[in-house]
């Protein structure tokens, strides 16, 4: 077996004196979609933000333990979080296209922000990323329109295109459909299916149905503890742990 793309080892994290994540242990294989489910406040978002070191941007945040990306510890002292985030992209709960930019500029914003956009590449990169995000056909005639003029679902796909444009290995998605209607959600889920294999996707979701639909592996977090991680089919038909069963069948506290 090859080494996992992401290996979370004895990970603890928190804010100030409060520990939010307790001793997480998780391996994520390259090219898979892993869903993180759990009740509000269980630490899902904190967890996903430790994977691209966004967690530490909040005052008082701390992390212990290790997160290995291709066997390299993200929290080693010589790792530059800015460089790391170009390999581990992220999509947020609410679509956040940059309001002052056109659709095209939004897509290449990552390259421009990092000063790695070479002249004359803009069009090609924008088209490739928009095609990957299944948005090209809808916006190809209006690339100069502001990104904020798109519908919510399109904005979210624009944000995915923006993340893909910097060519990451891992894509973190923090409840990417929570602000979208069912059709827009279905488009994003279809997109996740098409990105599988090429990217390693970690998806935090409130919707168990969504986790069941798009992921191969599902991890259940409860009060900062990783209760169970298993094949998604197994988790949703016959979970091992009683707490998982209670949560996914709606018998929770």
């Amino acid at each position: 077996m090859t080494a996992p793309r992401l290996h979370v080892h004895k990970l603890r994290a928190g804010f100030g004196g409060k520990e939010v994540l307790h001793d997480l242990e998780l391996e994520i294989a390259a090219g898979t979609v892993t869903a993180i489910i759990g009740p509000s406040g269980c630490g899902k978002s904190t967890f996903i933000r430790t994977l691209n070191r966004m967690h530490e941007l909040v005052g008082g945040a701390w992390v212990k333990g290790r997160v290995l990306l291709d066997e390299q510890d993200l929290y080693a002292s010589d790792v530059d979080p800015v460089l790391l985030r170009r390999r581990v992209g992220m999509v947020f709960q609410k679509p956040n296209p940059f309001p002052s930019m056109s659709i095209r500029d939004n897509v290449v914003a990552g390259l421009r922000l990092t000063g790695t956009l070479s002249r004359g590449q803009t069009e090609a990169i924008a088209e490739r990323a928009l095609r990957q995000a299944a948005l090209w056909d809808e916006v190809k005639d209006r690339l100069d329109d502001p990104g904020a003029a798109l519908s919510g679902g399109q904005q979210q796909r624009l944000c995915i295109a923006r993340a893909l444009a910097v060519d990451p290995q891992v894509l973190l998605m923090d409840e990417p459909c929570s602000a979208l209607d069912p059709i827009a959600t279905a488009r994003i889920e279809d997109l996740i299916h098409s990105l599988r294999g090429r990217y390693t996707i970690v998806l935090v979701t409130h919707s168990m149905q969504q986790a069941a639909r798009v992921s191969e592996r599902t991890a259940f977090l409860l009060r900062g503890e990783l209760v169970e991680v298993d094949d998604t089919r197994k988790i949703f038909t016959k979970p091992n742990d009683r707490r998982t069963e209670d949560y996914i069948t709606g018998r929770f506290g």
Partner: protein, 301 residues
């Protein structure tokens, strides 16, 4: 639960109607006041233009209403106003925006809580004090560097006026930057953007309309400011864009006349209404223009 139908019609209670009437009355007072001002201004202005042709008001280049050979060209006053306001904006614009960026993006919450009141103290200083500060401190200091600076000049009045509007620009600018959603910053950071790239390529452009609004408000305060320019800029209406020379602004001229340099009812006295109307038109135009920029910035945003 009772199933009897509750009425869907009926007049609102008396108390509610009284409160509504009282609130409408309050709103009416300010409306009526504004209307009265505009009316008086219009009336006196018409009376003025009855005596002085509007062409000479708009096309003459000299403003000497108190001379025997009175000339009524408004441009020297407009120039004085524009010059001092431009100097003020050149000071308060960059300083205010940079200070706002520091407060919003770099200062710790504790530092911000201490610095912001200190900056806002500047707004509480009487403009009279600013005026004498410009005349007695800033002008002598500037004279050491700029040899041919005159005792009354647009430069030092403008500089000090800049200081005066700095808190407005800074405070509103900080609010604008603060209002940029955290999600945009996170979006940029998640793409691997550094702090400065995030700030200048994402946050500042996103706050564009708010920053423009801050500058506009500062500018309107500068356009209408009276005491500083009346004290430190001199009261000589010259058609000049040289900041080292004395100028007279529209507001300073109005003060000068109202303090009794002209007898009531004379043409010279009526000039203040014409100048007032012109000042009103100028601020109105500035605001309207700025509103359009802001709206445009917001449409993009």
């Amino acid at each position: 639960m009772s199933d009897s139908p509750r009425p869907l019609t009926g007049a609102p209670p008396l108390g509610e109607r009284l409160i509504e009437a009282a609130l409408a009355g309050c709103a009416a007072i300010s409306l009526l006041t504004s209307a009265a001002i505009v009316l008086v201004l219009a009336q006196e202005t018409f009376a003025f233009f009855h005596a002085v042709p509007i062409t000479s008001f708009l096309f003459d280049t000299e403003w000497t209403p108190l001379f025997e050979r009175a000339r009524f060209g408004i441009w020297p006053l407009v120039c004085g106003t524009a010059l001092t306001s431009a100097v003020a904006l050149l000071v308060a614009g960059p300083l205010g925006v940079l200070a706002a960026i520091y407060l919003a993006e770099f200062a710790t919450p504790r530092a911000r809580d201490r610095l912001k009141p200190m900056i806002e103290v500047l707004a509480g200083i009487p403009t009279l004090v600013y005026g004498y500060f410009a005349l007695r401190v800033v002008t002598p200091c500037l004279a050491l560097v700029i040899p041919d600076l005159q005792g009354f000049n647009a430069l030092s009045a403008g500089l000090v006026m800049g200081l005066m509007i700095l808190p407005t620009v800074c405070s509103l600018g900080e609010d604008a930057l603060h209002a940029v959603p955290q999600t945009l910053r996170e979006g940029a950071v998640a793409l691997g953007a550094g702090r400065l790239a995030t700030l200048f390529l994402i946050v500042v452009p996103a706050a564009r309309s708010g920053l423009l609004a801050a500058l506009t408000l500062g500018l309107s305060r500068a356009l209408g400011e009276t005491m500083i320019v009346a004290i430190a800029a001199g009261q000589q209406a010259h058609l000049t864009l040289d900041p080292r020379s004395p100028v007279e602004t529209m507001s300073a001229y109005i003060v000068q006349i109202s303090l009794g340099d002209a007898a009531a009812g004379t043409v010279a006295y009526r000039t203040i209404f014409a100048v007032g109307a012109a000042l009103f038109a100028l601020t109105f135009a500035t605001n309207a223009l700025a509103q359009r920029w802001i709206a445009a910035a917001r449409r993009v945003g």
